[in-house]
């Protein structure tokens, strides 16, 4: 009961924040009805996906302060579970998604146990290493299609809510929006939960945290599992939305970093951070990419600018956009 109340408790944010959030929600709900290009719709879907990725990452990377750069392996597990189950056994999305999440979380416990013996840089590099190992294995594993990946069969009867196959993007949009809202409420409850507080104590000082009865190793593993569940869920969705997955686009290091970047840019360890980050980075990436990437001789310029922005943020305001908002307000509130 209290968990549900916590999920809906936004009372630590000033009214201004909630007004902006409410306006944003109205905009999101109405977006498909507004005039828009299909490119804008695709960007919007990307925004929701990366918001969810970032929210998940934020539990371990933001609240617990453990820089995880290997989230893509769990995107891959989610995406491949859905794809394999649909291709081979005709299993609908709503069954394969929870299975994928369970498999990913199970794998995260196995990996997490040794992983969280490491700290700081060592931890970050190790997360990359584990993710790359899994990607390499998938690339040579025939059962999942190797490096070529898998293509999902078109079932032909649109709209198909069971298998998530639609002609029009707004179906995907609303389903994802529902996931987004559920994810947001869950995180809001999470940051109010005992684990949420304990993780922030761990980030502050692990010795003090342990002296307060907190099993630091286990708490980190639990947060890692929550983060994993989020990205695996979106991974499953990604498989249905793209109809086509391969190790390179679901498990690459670039994706791992992008996920972390959303939260980092917006403000790691804050509720709105990942959403703010995604709302800046995703449109920038897709529009910069389409404007500049297409022109001869300018391939790469979008990512050059992107890299420069990342360097700038890291050097000037490591707490991200939300850190700037807090600096202006002169208060650190509403984490």
């Amino acid at each position: 009961m209290e968990a549900i109340r916590n999920a809906f408790d936004f009372s630590d944010f000033p009214r201004l924040d909630m007004t902006v959030a409410g306006a944003a929600l109205v905009f999101l709900l109405a977006f498909p009805a507004l005039p828009h290009s299909s490119f804008a719709m695709a960007t919007m879907i990307q925004f929701l996906m990366f918001s969810l990725y970032g929210m998940g990452w934020n539990t371990i990377g933001g609240y617990a302060g453990q820089v995880d750069l290997g989230k893509a392996q769990y995107v891959g597990i989610g995406a491949y579970t859905t794809a394999v189950m649909m291709v081979r056994w005709d299993v609908p999305f709503w069954v394969s998604m929870p299975v994928g999440m369970a498999l990913a979380v199970g794998w995260s416990f196995i990996i997490g146990y040794p992983l969280f013996k490491l700290k700081g840089h060592y931890f970050a590099i190790a997360t990359i290493a584990t993710s790359l190992v899994l990607k390499d294995l998938f690339e040579v594993w025939d059962f999942v299609g190797g490096a070529k990946g898998l293509e999902l069969p078109l079932r032909g009867n649109f709209p198909d809510f069971l298998y998530l196959q639609f002609r029009e993007d707004y179906y995907y949009f609303y389903i994802l929006l529902a996931m987004f809202l559920a994810g947001l409420l869950f995180i809001n409850g999470f940051r109010h939960s005992r684990l949420g507080y304990q993780l922030r104590a761990i980030k502050d000082n692990e010795d003090v945290a342990r002296s307060l009865g907190i099993n630091v190793h286990w708490c980190k593993i639990k947060a890692y599992a929550v983060a994993t569940a989020y990205v695996a869920m979106v991974g499953s969705f990604h498989a249905c939305y793209n109809f086509n997955i391969e190790p390179e686009d679901t498990m690459s290091l670039d994706l791992s970093v992008l996920i972390a970047m959303m939260a980092m840019l917006g403000g790691a360890g804050s509720l709105w951070g990942p959403i703010i980050g995604a709302s800046i980075l995703v449109p920038m990436r897709s529009y910069l990419g389409s404007w500049l990437g297409g022109q001869a001789g300018l391939a790469g310029l979008d990512l050059v600018i992107y890299g420069a922005i990342i360097m700038l943020i890291a050097a000037v305001q490591p707490r991200g956009v939300w850190g700037m908002v807090e600096a202006v307000r002169g208060r650190r509130r509403g984490v």
Binding site: R194, Q198, A201, S211, I214
Partner: protein, 247 residues
């Protein structure tokens, strides 16, 4: 039956013996001071008792249970809380939230944790600081936050590591009164290491004196300070035996 019994505890760091077969007890309604010159092994012993270090030899019993093999977080759950010399919580948590983390040892409910935190902040006279960040407070109040956090975990015994360090005379005085109240009104046993002798003398029912990792004396404060071995340990050999040199 003593609340805490330290039995023949030793701790080695490499070849260095920091604690050598130390034994003492703390009763359920006692305040015990652990004193000794710098490097006597007080903090090491503290860390062994609290499960922060594994001991090299000996046993620690708490509330009738052998806690020697337990980790620090397990020890805390049994009701043995501690403070750190340097209490640094720089990041994300406000004062009240810090104290709530302590309260979360006993409850999973945010509402109850908040109520408990507010109760302790009130008791320690820092209720007005609940919404601030720790770094915004002066040192004396930061120490009270550390106390409140440890107390919110509902301990039976509280280990205080140099809580008076860095405080001025008036602040030490306030702290002594506060700790007395905590002991009397809340019925907590206290074990404290301290450099500030007035504080140990004023609070402790019993004092354990360490030197070079060994226990050299134990008894009531007034007796212990007269013990020649304690005086020698604190002031050094040359002062006691060679007074004529300074006359």
């Amino acid at each position: 039956m003593a609340l805490l019994e330290v039995r023949e505890v030793s701790k080695d760091f490499g070849g260095l013996r920091a604690n050598d077969r130390i034994s003492f007890q703390v009763g359920a309604d006692e305040v015990v001071g652990l004193i000794g010159p710098n490097g006597a092994g007080k903090t090491t012993l503290f860390n062994c008792v609290a499960g922060y270090y594994p001991v090299s030899g000996g046993q620690v019993f708490f509330d009738g249970q052998d806690i020697t093999p337990l980790k620090d977080f397990q020890v805390c759950r049994l009701g043995l809380a501690r403070t750190f010399q340097i209490f640094q919580a720089s990041g994300d948590l406000s004062v009240a939230e810090n104290v709530m983390v302590g309260a979360f040892v006993r409850t999973g409910s945010r509402r109850k944790a908040r109520a408990k935190a507010e109760e302790w902040l009130e008791f320690l006279g820092i209720a007005d600081a609940g919404g601030l960040m720790l770094s915004e407070l002066p040192v004396a109040r930061q120490k009270r936050v550390a106390l409140a956090t440890a107390l919110a975990s509902d301990p039976k015994l509280l280990l205080l590591d140099e809580v008076a360090a860095g405080l001025n005379a008036a602040e030490v005085d306030g702290l002594v009164k506060l700790l007395t109240r905590i002991h009397r009104e809340k019925g907590l046993a206290l074990l404290l290491t301290e450099h500030v002798m007035e504080m140990v003398m004023a609070l402790s029912h019993r004092v354990v004196v360490l030197e070079s990792g060994r226990k050299i004396a134990e008894g009531e404060p007034a007796q212990v300070v007269k013990d020649p071995e304690v005086i020698r340990a604190y002031l050094g050999d040359h002062l006691v035996s060679g007074e004529n040199g300074h006359a």
